[in-house]
Structures are given as structure tokens and as C-alpha cells.
């Protein structure tokens, strides 16, 4: 099998490597000629059999993805299939799928999990789209997903958008899980009678209720830096976490844990919090409580 892959950044390049290792021929295109197999998107399309093409798009969500899809809409032929694997907001998928369908081009949205470890372990895949198109693309998914039974690393989750939706929820859960471990870590770290924090987390690796891959990564991080001395507490967030909470609000679903995890990241990136300045000002007003003067630069 031979497919096209657009976008050869950290994720895309690893996926190309894994696909090739699993006997899928890949024609990769990237704007960076140093990593690209062909000179242009046109060349990529030309290198694949019309009507039977699969083009996997793995570029940043938003503008870049929209640009590539718009070009593909003009280059591809009826029977071809676009697989959109980026971190797109699922709300965009239904219309995209409909637009491609007008030209008899298939469209699948795929959530891809696994990060830098996916090259070796395989990628967890969640797919949205129609069943016949999913069926045709199975060899690609089988090459990318982890070893083991197909249904433990792959799912056809539902209609157009279901791939990105389930990946979004996956990432929302991830936020909550990470924050739960992090709060527990802080409780261990703060307690004088606990003299072996890294060892405690490592001892949870087998047999306990909290064992997980994220726990293994935390154990690994502490083996490299037992007091996390070389890392700041500044934590980025990405679109999926925010979309998850937005979605919950739209659907009137309470989401206390995932939202708290998101807000903790926001807080981590604030210098002086305007809200807490207001609370300090209020305490000063009603109680004559001393306030700390603002530090230079705070």
C-alpha cells in the first residue's frame, strides 16, 4: 500500500517512520524541503493512484489544516480519501466531510494519541466517518496502532467528527489524571515523615489501583530529577482541554475535575493574579489586615 502524508513535523515524521516499518509506502510532503519526499502537494498527489489515493494530513490545526484541505479538494479525484489527523476542533468536521462528499471524496477525522512514544509503541487511534471508508483505510490504521488486538488501540467511534471529539475527551481526561497525580505528589512532597517520595510513586507501579502509564512517566521524571528541581511550574495548555470544558458547558454537563485541572494550568502561568489582588484589597478594607505591597515586577 502506498499513501500520501502531509506534514512531517515531530508527529508526522515519526508516523512516516512507523508506517514504513510496517510495509506501508509513504510519500511525504512538508514545506520544509529538508524532510519532504516531494517538492509540492501536486507532486504528492501525482505520485498516488487516482481514485484510490489516501492522503493523511498531519499539520497544525486551524489555518494550516484548512489550507491543505482546500488545496486537496481541488487536486483529488472521486474515490480518493482524506484522513485528517490533526488536533482539529470536531465541530469543523461535519461540514468538511459533507463538502468532500459532494466531490465523492472520502473524509475521515482521526484522533491520534501517543506523543513521542507512538513511534515505538504505536498510536491510539479514534476515527470518525462512514463505515465503508473506514474499512478501506484499515491497513493504514493497522500499521499505526499498537500491537495487540485491533480494538485495544483503534476504534471507529462514530460519524464525522467522532474521531476528533473522542480525542478531545481523551485529552480532557488526561488533564484531570495529570492534576490528580500532581496533587498527590505535592502532598507526599510536603510531608516530613515521607522520606522516599520517588520510591513511593514507583511502588505504585504494580498491584495498586492508581497504576497507569502516566504514573510510569512520573516515576521516570523523578528518576531523572528526584525533586523536580530543574523544572518550572509553568504549564501550557492546548485547545483540547479548553474545548472539553466548552463542550461540557454547551451540553450542561458538570465537569468539576477537568475544569479545575485546566484552571490550575491557567493559574500556573499568571504572574500576579488580578483576582487575588482584589481579595487582598478587600481583606485590607474590611479588616485592616496587612497587605503585602506589590513586589517590583509582580
Amino acid at each position: 500500500m502506498r499513501i500520501g502524508l502531509v506534514g512531517l513535523g515531530k508527529m508526522g515524521a515519526n508516523m512516516r517512520t512507523r508506517l514504513r516499518a510496517h510495509d506501508v509506502e509513504v510519500v511525504g510532503f512538508d514545506r520544509n524541503p529538508d524532510v519532504s519526499d516531494v517538492a509540492s502537494l501536486d507532486d504528492l498527489v501525482a505520485a498516488l493512484p487516482a481514485g484510490q489515493r489516501f492522503v493523511w494530513v498531519m499539520v497544525p490545526a486551524g489555518g494550516p489544516t484548512r489550507d491543505v484541505l482546500a488545496q486537496l479538494a481541488t487536486l483529488l479525484a472521486p474515490g480518493d480519501v482524506v484522513i485528517e489527523g490533526g488536533n482539529t476542533h470536531y465541530v469543523e468536521d461535519a461540514e468538511r466531510a459533507a463538502t468532500f462528499a459532494e466531490h465523492s471524496i472520502g473524509y475521515l477525522d482521526v484522533g491520534v494519541s501517543g506523543g513521542v512514544w507512538g513511534l515505538e509503541n504505536g498510536y491510539g487511534l479514534m476515527v470518525g466517518g462512514d463505515a465503508a471508508t473506514v474499512e478501506r483505510a484499515l491497513p493504514i490504521f493497522d500499521a499505526l496502532r499498537p500491537e495487540g488486538p485491533r480494538d485495544e488501540g483503534f476504534v471507529h467511534a462514530g460519524a464525522a467528527g467522532a474521531g476528533h471529539y473522542t480525542k478531545m475527551v481523551h485529552n480532557g481526561i488526561e488533564y484531570g489524571l495529570m492534576q490528580a497525580y500532581a496533587e498527590g505528589y505535592e502532598l507526599l512532597d510536603a510531608k516530613d515523615i515521607v522520606t522516599d517520595v520517588p520510591g513511593t510513586l514507583k511502588a505504585w507501579s504494580r498491584g495498586t489501583v492508581v497504576r497507569s502509564w502516566l504514573l510510569e512517566l512520573l516515576v521516570k521524571a523523578l528518576e531523572e530529577d528526584p525533586e523536580l528541581a530543574d523544572i518550572s511550574d509553568w504549564v501550557e495548555d492546548s485547545g483540547e482541554g479548553r474545548w472539553t470544558v466548552d463542550e461540557a458547558i454547551d451540553a450542561a454537563i458538570p465537569l468539576p475535575v477537568i475544569s479545575a485541572a485546566l484552571f490550575a494550568r491557567f493559574s500556573s502561568r499568571q504572574g500576579a493574579s488580578p483576582a487575588m489582588k482584589a481579595v487582598a484589597a478587600l481583606r485590607h478594607q474590611f479588616g485592616g489586615h496587612d497587605v503585602r505591597p506589590s513586589s517590583p515586577g509582580a
Copy 2:
């Protein structure tokens, strides 16, 4: 009427002034001779009529309060009444009341709200204890409470402990209210189209659903410092906030807002958050996401 008042700190001294302004004679004692009316607790007790004494205790909760109460237990006579107005955890009151009752000494626990404004506005008073003793002490409460109908600034809330319990809940609510205004303030402050933040808060003073005394204080704070430039975001918390959440946990009552307000204060006082370092470390492990190196001193 003539009463004893032990503890002439910021609150106690103001209360003495208000009591005297309302025709209650006050014999005040404080360890600081500069503010004390008498040289010792013995002298204070001696200056009051045995069996009809009222001694209001207004010293820091915990050890200092316990010390004063222990001394009073040996100095007072049957028929006397102790009024404990400090920020005591209500769980201590029932036993104290019982102990004094063995000596036929009355015991009332009183939550006092109003801060530095109480001198002028009067103090909100919540009282726990038996009805007959509360009745005897009414002239004192009437002098301290705000002008207006008695039941708008005073309540006999229930049995021993009810005064401190209701004051604890009052303060827990206060945490939530302050955080709600503060979050709103931050949203206003962050928005470019809103060009008059202090004016917006001031415009809420009349007619709106959110008008309150705390809002007036926030307006006042912004009149003094329109961007809260001279105040840090470091916010202290006191026992009552913590006890409120502890109480909810004991009683299996969900308390999402008050607990979030308490945790926001904890966060405000942290330098680098160990929990968020752990989240940053995890992100780095699974995604190869860049982390910020820890800043010197963070």
C-alpha cells in the same frame, strides 16, 4: 451596667469604645499596661459585683483564650457569666460551657462580625448558649450591635457552640463572596473593550443583583488604587475558612465554591507549585513538550 472586657487589641479596644458610647461601663484588662484599665485579671474581677459579673473575653483563639478562661474559672463566682467573643473553633464550646456550668457560671459563645467598621456601624452578633443567660446579657449585645431592629444584627442562634459555628459559616460564605467578586474583577480587568473598570463596579452599587457591602469596599479600594498596583496577590487565610471546609467534609456536604475560594488563597501564597511542576514534568515526558527551566529562587 458595668462589665469586664479582657483583651484590648484592635477589636477589643474598639468594642470598649462602642460599649462606653452606649452607656455600658467597661473595666478593660490587657497584658499591655498602656491600654489596660486595671493591673490584672484579679483586679478586673474585683471591680465587678460577685454573682452578677459579665466578663467578655476577646483575646486570640487557642492558647490565649484557654488561659484566660482557666483563670476566670478560678476567679468567678456562681451567677457570673463569661462571654467568649474570639474566633474559637466551635467544637471547644460545648465542653467549656459544661465546665463553667458545674460552677454555676454562665457561658456564652459569640461570633462577632464587622471588623474595623464595627466601632462605627455596630457589630453583627451571633450567640450560642442557654436562653436565660442570653436574656441577661442582652443590654451588652444591644450596645454592640448595629442600630436598627435587634433581629437584623443579633441572633441567639442555638445551644453552646452555635455562636462560633454560625460565625465560622459566615466567614466561609465571605470567602466565597470575595472570590466571586475577584474573579469578576479579573474578567473586567482583562477586557480591552471595558475601559472603566472602577466605574463599572461602582455602577453596581444600586439597583443590581450583586450590590453588597463587600462591593462597596471593592469600589473604595479601586478609588484609592484604580489598578490595585500597590497591592500584592498574596492572600492570608484564617481558621474559620479551613474549619468551614473541614466541617463540610465531616458532614458530607458538597462545598465546591467555598473550598475553591480557600484553595485560591493557598495558591496565592505558593512560590513554585510542586503540583504544577509535576504536571509540567509529565507533559515533557509524554509529549516532548518544552518545559521552562526553574528560575533561580523559584
Copy 3:
């Protein structure tokens, strides 16, 4: 002064009454002929002086408001002013203002607070738009706002959208305040030693830190129904609360209290929570903990 008022529901009808009581002539239009002063929007426009018209729109946000504004765009003349007082999402205002400006028609967005009490107490008003137009409309605002200094019940908060934005934030704060009181109420209600819950809340009316208009309403509610026996715990939410949290997420502002208040309302309206079923199922799986079978209809 003579103005048009479109929308004579609960809010609009009260506003008409208050405007008339303050010497502003009002031509009101509503689709319901029983309450309408004129037969059509055309008639309303015709009854006002071209180029000097003020038309206040007070209809449900979304479609109804958009419909009325679209009609007004065709009916009004240069120099006229539209005042949009509904619960519109502020993000719609900038484009609307620009569209009207193309026809030299003024556009002000106004957040109106006060509920059913506004008729008597006046309405808190937050206005977005350009200063000259705001200036022209001041007599209307002065008639609607509460007695007292103008800046305690009215603000020109900023550019187009600032009126609805600040009203949105006002309502977000309101959610947090209400939940804070409610959590405190539950703590009082649950405690055996507190024998006078309504009295305790009433005693907070003067002198305390938590005194507010919402507290007064809670006191009133408990005077009518001391145990809230006749009211269910099902709580609706409106767009402003959701938009407030959405806005915080967009701006990366932590909003733990207001979001918790919103989620508490979502939870109040759920029958059986799918999330908590999942937690129960997990506990059963790992611990053999008994689970309660689902009740019929749950």
C-alpha cells in the same frame, strides 16, 4: 422626551412604566396586541421624530433580537439611535454597531440589572458604545437608573459590547455569590446546635461582612418558607453564566468559583448522573464494593 420601546414582556413592560413615571414618553410595541401601544414596528418608528429617534429593544436574545434589529436597520434614519438592552452575547455587538454606523445610526448595548425589583428600585445600567451617543441618551438612562448619584447605578463601561460584557460578568459574579450563600445555608441547616437558621441569616443583615441584597432576599425567602419545603432543588441557568466561563477559558483566566457555581446548577438538573454511575461501576470493579441497583426511572 419621547422614545420607542420594542418588547413589552415582564422586563419591558416594567421599564415602560418606570420611564413614564419619570416623564419619558414611551411608544411601546409588542407582538402581543394586548400590551402594545401601536400595531407595528413601522407605526412605532413613524411615531418618533426622524433623525432624533431612540428605540430601545428589549426582546429575547438571539433570533428575536436579530429580527427586530434587522427591521430597524431598514426603518430608521441617520441620526437615530438603537439601544439594545437584552441579554445578548457581547461578541455580537461590535459588528452590529459597525453595521448601524454605516447608516449613521447610533447603537448602544446596555446591560440591565434589577429583575422584577427594577420597576420600584430602578435598574442598574451598564452601557457600551461611543461617548457622544451615550451622552444623547442620558435622559433615558437617568429615568431608568436608581435614585442617587448617577455613577452608583450607571456606567459608560467602554466601547461597543462593553455594556453586555459587563452585564455578563455581573451575572457570573451573581452565580458565585448565590452559591456561596447557598453552601453556607446548607451548613447551617445541617447542624443540630443551630436552632434558628432563618434568624441567623437575618442577623447578618446589618454590621456583618456578608450583608448584601441577595442576603436580604434569602431572608425574605425563609420568612415565606422557613425550611424551603415548597421549593425543589432544580436550578435553571441562563446564557450569561455559561458565557462568563467560556470567556474565562478564551482568556486563560482561572475561574474556579463561578464555574463551580455553574456546574452545581447543571448537577441540580440531572436525574441519574452518568459520571457518578461510572464511578460507582469502577468502585464495584476494583473493590467489590456493593453498588446500588439503578432505581426505576433513575
Copy 4:
């Protein structure tokens, strides 16, 4: 090796079985004669070699544990070791250890994780106490812990109390993890385009960031009951979750996720929420919003 084991409930009986399967002789005692190996605690002690005894106590925390420990204090000899494996609050351990030390009896506190699966998989073990005593008890721990490297299922976490403390934190984390998955499950369940919820969760088993043992259990639960139709949303909580939040409050550590997970369980067990009745009452007061009358029995 031969040890005593007091308490043969679900956990204790399984542990006895696992110990025996790993060549540790066990003399078990339980108040229930049907499962007990000996007739009394005296008999259990008599069956072990004085000065070299290990007695593992696995009875309910609180009174039952305190009773057994008090009896053992009178029955054991210098050199013997008590291992307390129940769900005890760690704050009790330091004093217990000191008391036993006065009689030259060793005391280890052990957190045991694994639930009903521990019999087969082994139990995760966290131990507090002095190093020499831990060393002597290693053969017992090696029999109970999972196969694999010792440090992946066992840790000497620190001084007296560290075993129960780390187990408490483990359970607190567990609350957060479970709630994170549960919130994600609800988001999947609510979405019409997601037509295979159980399959989506199963597809996360390999390769994804959220893979874990708890996820496997949720997959298993959904295989048994794909819509969780036979399970209610009523979720119990245990001491450890509450203690974890209490601990955070004492240590001024923000714990938004774990506390939210705990509160969600509290909410799940409430019939009508008094807090939400109060919010509904407030909405009715200020806005004339309709409230739902209380349902019979709610």
C-alpha cells in the same frame, strides 16, 4: 516463616491465601469461628515463637483496630512485631509506634492497595516504621507484593505513619482519577455522533496517554453493562478521601481536583440539595423566575 494474621474479612482472608501460596505459614484469627484458625488472640500468640513473632492486624480502622492493638500490647514479648495493615488515619501511628517501642515491640504501619484483585495480582505495599524492623519483615512483604522487581510494588516510605499516609494519598489520587474518567465518560455518552462509547474506551487501552488499570476496569464494566443501566449513581466514600482533603487544608496545599471528586460523591448521595433549594429560592425572589415545587419525597 510463620506469622499471625488478625482479621479474616474479605481482604484478610485473601491475604492469608496469598501468603500461604507463597510459603508463609499463617495462623489466622477472626471473631467469626467459621473462618478462624484458632479460638482466640491468645491462641494465635501462643502459636508463634516469642520474641520473633509477626502479627499482621487487618481489621476495620478505628475501634476494632485499637482493641486488637491494646490486647496485643499485653500479649506480645520484646522483639515481636505488629504490622498494622488497616485503613487507619496516619495521625494515630506515631504514638502507637512509640507505645509499642516502650515494650521493645516493633510496629509497622502498612498501606495495602489492590482490592479484590490483590489475591491474584499481589498487593501494592507502602510501609512506615524503622528500617531494621522493615528489613526483618521483608519476607512477608515479598510474599504479598506483586511479582516483579520489589521496588515496583513495595516501598519503605518513611517513619511511623508514612505507610498509612502514602496509602491515604494513593486513595486521594484514586478519587481524582476515577472522577476524570467518569467526566469523560459522560461527555462521550452525551454525544450523538459518538456511536460506540464502550469501544472508544477500549481503544484507549494501548498506546494512549490515558491508559491505566482503572481504564481497563471501566472497559470491563461496560462490557458487562454497556450503558451502566443496572447501576445507580449513588457513590460511597471512605475515610481516606476525606483525610486527604483535611490534610491538604492543614498544610495549606491547594487540592482542587481531589476535593472536587470527593464533593461529587457527596452530591451523588443527596436527595434534594438544601444549597440548590436556596439558589432556586433566590432566583425566584429577584427574578420572579419560576421554581419547581418540591416533589413528594424529594
